[in-house]
């Protein structure tokens, strides 16, 4: 696939490195020479210039691009880039749009005649996909807060099958081989993440404290299976949010709509007033999130969850740790620098959601491989779970999946036959039209893809 990435910031860099690792043909367009210098360490072509101009896009050969991803800091540039790329003949375009005003216009139409109508329609702008990193981050945080475990979920096959990460917290299974764990419901262990590295699961593998285990199971079994590894917690009923920025605001708004008690702590008094006006019913306080006494005074120790969403990664980690220390059962934080994620998890902060990583994941959904219809990244960015649809002429069709010649690094998670989930799928024969979920390291994914075409 030929992919143009516009903007070489954190998100652009991340997507580029991901796609380069998968050996796709990637071109990065960026205006700043210094930023481009950093991109050059990747195996991608670089073009210096403003991508929102036909000249630069023509140089990037937009006419033959399978995917154009605009992720510069400016919404307007991103929209214009997609528009021009589409005019030049690009097939799929994706833009990062942060301003909720724009994205709001995209999704909802006005209810009353005086309300703004859909002035800007994504199709007329040539944008096929729009991504809002802040909204993605807020969604992720809310989905974690409303479930029993503090770990992210990936859904497949219209939500029938889930892949979920669990952190090993229970001592009873530590130092036992994986094969000895009796699972109450059928499931597949897709991977074990230990100290940042991936371990392919085998029956003899001993489980260690703090391992992260990826489990594939059908949706209704997931919570029960999770009890093997971690202590379930009740969904949050009261949440303290640090930082009233876009993500903090979106989380507060979303939680409030679900009837959760929300308190927003924000340092800037003007911003406090702004969000207090928009969030009626939520408590908005002005103060310093690193002040221990202040947090106690604001009732942090008795809250169900603490969410740090400021612009500063360091502040988020520190405050998340402080809240944990004060006795909050769940402490979620937002991290932009990917390098901080293992660090944050190591010091005991529950989940570190990263807007750039989430955006990259969302993009991964759209860099669809041949017959694939859904894709997700696991374990940072080392593994990819892809849902393939078996075509009638596919190599795997009419064969047992274990005999289909998949690369040895790949694991078959599930087969979905006529909306019936088959887990574990080892002995079943793949029929044309079946959906198959395969977990494999990034460089291997293209060779798996071939088997389903």
């Amino acid at each position: 696939m030929y992919i143009i990435i516009v903007g070489g910031g954190v998100v652009g860099f991340h997507i580029a490195s991901l796609l380069a690792e998968e050996e796709q043909e990637v071109v990065v367009v960026e205006q700043s020479e210094e930023v481009l210098e950093n991109i050059r360490q990747l195996d991608v072509k670089t073009i210096l210039g403003n991508a929102a101009t036909p000249k630069v896009l023509r140089e990037a050969e937009a006419h033959r691009a399978d995917l154009t991803v605009a992720v510069t800091g400016s919404d307007e540039t991103n929209m214009l880039t997609c528009f021009i790329a589409k005019e030049l003949g690009a097939s799929t375009t994706a833009a990062r749009i942060r301003n909720p005003e724009y994205s709001g216009y995209f999704v909802t139409s006005g209810k009353s005649p005086s309300a703004p109508r859909k002035v800007i329609r994504p199709k007329s702008l040539g944008i096929d996909v729009f991504i809002n990193p802040e909204v993605e981050a807020a969604k992720e945080i809310m989905s974690i807060l409303s479930s029993f475990y503090s770990t992210p979920i990936e859904s497949f096959a219209n939500g029938l099958v889930q892949i979920r990460e669990f952190k090993v917290e229970k001592g009873t299974i530590v130092d036992k081989p994986l094969g000895d764990i009796a699972f109450p419901k059928p499931c597949v262990v897709a991977a074990i993440i230990r100290a940042g590295g991936i371990i392919m699961p085998s029956a003899g593998e001993l489980i260690k404290q703090d391992d992260r285990i990826y489990l594939v199971a059908s949706r209704e079994h997931m919570d029960e299976l999770g009890e093997r590894f971690a202590q379930p917690q009740r969904p949050a009923k009261s949440v303290v949010i640090l930082g009233g920025g876009r993500v903090g605001f979106l989380v507060a708004e979303g939680l409030q709509r679900r009837g959760v008690l929300v308190k927003v702590v924000e340092g800037n008094i003007n911003r406090c007033q702004e969000i207090a006006a928009k969030l009626e019913g939520a408590a908005v306080v002005q103060g310093d999130g690193t002040d221990r006494d202040f947090l106690i005074e604001q009732g942090v120790p008795s809250a169900d969850a603490f969410v740090a969403t400021t612009e500063s990664d360091e502040l988020n980690i520190l405050c998340g740790l402080l809240a944990k220390n004060l006795g909050v059962s769940r402490s979620l934080i937002l991290v932009n620098k990917l390098g901080y994620i293992p660090l944050a998890e190591a010091v005991g902060v529950d989940v570190a959601a990263s807007p750039s990583l989430l955006t990259a994941r969302k993009i991964a959904h759209f860099v669809l491989h041949g017959g694939a219809i859904s894709a997700a990244l696991l374990g940072g960015k080392q593994l990819q779970a892809v849902e393939f649809v078996t075509s009638p002429t596919a190599h795997v069709a009419q064969r047992k999946i274990i005999e289909a010649g998949l690369p040895k690094e790949s694991i078959v998670g599930a087969i979905i036959h006529n909306d019936r989930v088959i887990i574990p799928p080892d002995d079943s024969v793949v029929q044309p039209g079946d959906h198959v979920i395969i977990i494999s390291p990034l460089p291997v994914t293209p060779s798996v893809e071939k088997l389903f075409k």
Partner: protein, 487 residues
């Protein structure tokens, strides 16, 4: 720095050098010459030791760092030359190891400076295998052994971009395709394609098959080794000279431009390239002035003057170093002009060496801007090449590189003078090896060779050849203490 990872890839590289010896081995077996044993043993030694090194060292995770890439390229060139000496040593071609190493380094760096003595140990008396190996080392070194390595093996992954950048001549290695491996493949494909064309043309022009192959192997990389003592002059054929002039000029152009011309069908991008235009203009200008000088001083008739001056100007400027006329006896102006062409060299991104035309262009524009700034210090004058404004960072890189180039030239000149060589020989020997040209002036002139240089001088020139081929920084950075600290 992960030394083991570097050694792992170096092992593979040595094995490739060993495998390439199979071609001369085939020729020597065909002619049933005694050097076939030497080639068989050297292939064995190189392949076995390379694969052993490869097997014994583990490959680490993650991409190659810039420092590792520099170590790999510098180490690769030195080791390739070390293993490349094996056929000469085992066949007893030279009386000492230093000469063998000089000849090999001169081959891989596409210099073409030889230490064969025309009287005692003439080139014609050498077996075919040895002669082919001389030319083959140049062909491998021309487009770059590391670039070939990147094109052949996908194993290097993301770190490969650094490798190609470090090895490629020119201020900025242009990415032709998104993946560096495809760029490396395209470059080698073009290189191979031109080589095949040249071989066929020479063969049609009635050059013996073996000579056509050997000459092709040293024209496309702008090398300069020939299987004759008299170089191309030995064939005494205007047609052959014309063919070689054409392919030398082809080799001296940025290969990236051919990619745009042939793949992307953008002839405008090819012909309007400012470096390409200056390169052609300099060649034509130099040629005309030399013709004028030769005819006015009565050395040659006008026809002969055209024939020899065009061949020599192209041969020297593209840093090939083929010879059809003894330009050592030409008048002072013609010799000076050739010496200057020797220092300027070919285009960036070509297989030629020396300073490169694009750097000359930037230096000239920079100097002009300095003059303008003298009377209006507050003027903002962007430095443009071919319509694109160069960033100050790139300009500063080019100026830094040029300063180092001339500094190396001066230091080399001083050392060679200290060893008792005359001015002309001392300066031209350093210019000819640093620019990977081959023949110089004076004692190392077109009809002479480098055998007369004292041992220490040969060592200095070997360093010059390597430093010149890898454009100084890759080797010089190894001499800085900070490169070795903080690993």
């Amino acid at each position: 720095m992960r030394i083991k990872v570097v050694l792992h890839y170096l092992g593979l590289l040595i094995a490739i050098v060993g495998l390439s010896m199979l071609l001369p081995l085939a020729w020597s077996l065909y002619y049933r010459e005694p050097d076939s044993l030497a080639f068989a043993i050297s292939t064995g030694i190189s392949v076995v030791s390379g694969l052993l090194l490869w097997r014994l060292t583990a490959v680490g995770e993650g991409r190659l760092s810039r420092r590792e890439a520099i170590m790999l390229v510098a180490g690769g060139w030195i080791l390739a030359s070390a293993f490349g000496t094996l056929p000469y040593v085992l066949a007893g071609t030279f009386s000492n190891y230093l000469d063998a190493f000089f000849e090999t380094m001169s081959g891989f760096t596409t210099t073409g400076a030889t230490v064969f003595d025309p009287v005692v140990n003439s080139i014609e008396s050498q077996p075919h295998g040895i002669l082919l190996w001389r030319s083959l080392t140049q062909w491998l070194g021309g487009m770059g052994i590391i670039t070939l390595f990147v094109a052949l093996f996908p194993i290097l992954g993301i770190g490969a971009a650094h490798l190609v950048e470090v090895e490629m001549p020119g201020p900025q290695a242009e990415r032709l395709t998104a993946r560096i491996r495809d760029t490396a493949k395209a470059l080698w494909f073009l290189y191979l394609g031109f080589s095949v064309l040249e071989f066929i043309s020479l063969w049609v022009a009635k050059m013996p098959v073996f000579d056509a192959l050997a000459v092709t192997f040293s024209t496309m990389p702008t090398g300069g080794f020939t299987p004759t003592s008299l170089s191309i002059g030995a064939y005494n054929s205007p047609l052959i000279e014309g063919i070689i002039i054409f392919f030398m000029m082809v080799a001296g152009v940025n290969f990236g431009l051919y990619y745009f011309l042939l793949w992307k069908r953008q002839p405008g991008r090819f012909f309007s390239n400012s470096e390409f235009r200056l390169y052609i203009a300099l060649l034509i200008g130099a040629c005309l002035f030399i013709v004028l000088n030769l005819t006015m001083s009565g050395v040659e008739s006008i026809g002969e003057a055209f024939r020899y001056s065009s061949f020599q100007a192209v041969s020297i400027m593209t840093t090939t170093g083929f010879v059809t006329a003894n330009f050592n006896v030409w008048p002072a102006f013609a010799r000076s002009a050739l010496l200057i062409l020797m220092i300027i060299g070919a285009s960036a991104g070509s297989t030629g060496g020396a300073l490169k035309v694009t750097r000359l262009l930037v230096l000239a524009k920079y100097a002009y801007r300095r003059i303008l700034l003298f009377f209006n210090p507050r003027a903002v004058i962007p430095l443009k090449v071919g319509g694109n404004t160069l960033s100050e960072r790139v300009v500063s890189g080019i100026i830094g590189m040029s300063i180092l180039y001339f500094a190396t030239l001066i230091v080399g000149f001083l050392v060679m003078s200290a060893l008792g060589l005359d001015h002309v020989t001392a300066l031209s020997s350093v210019a000819a090896t640093l620019g990977n040209v081959g023949p110089g002036l004076g004692l190392v002139g077109p009809t002479a060779n480098y055998l007369c240089i004292p041992a220490l001088g040969k060592v200095v020139l070997i360093v010059c050849m390597l430093v010149g081929r890898l454009e100084l920084f890759t080797i010089l950075v190894l001499l800085t203490p900070s490169f070795w600290k903080w690993r």
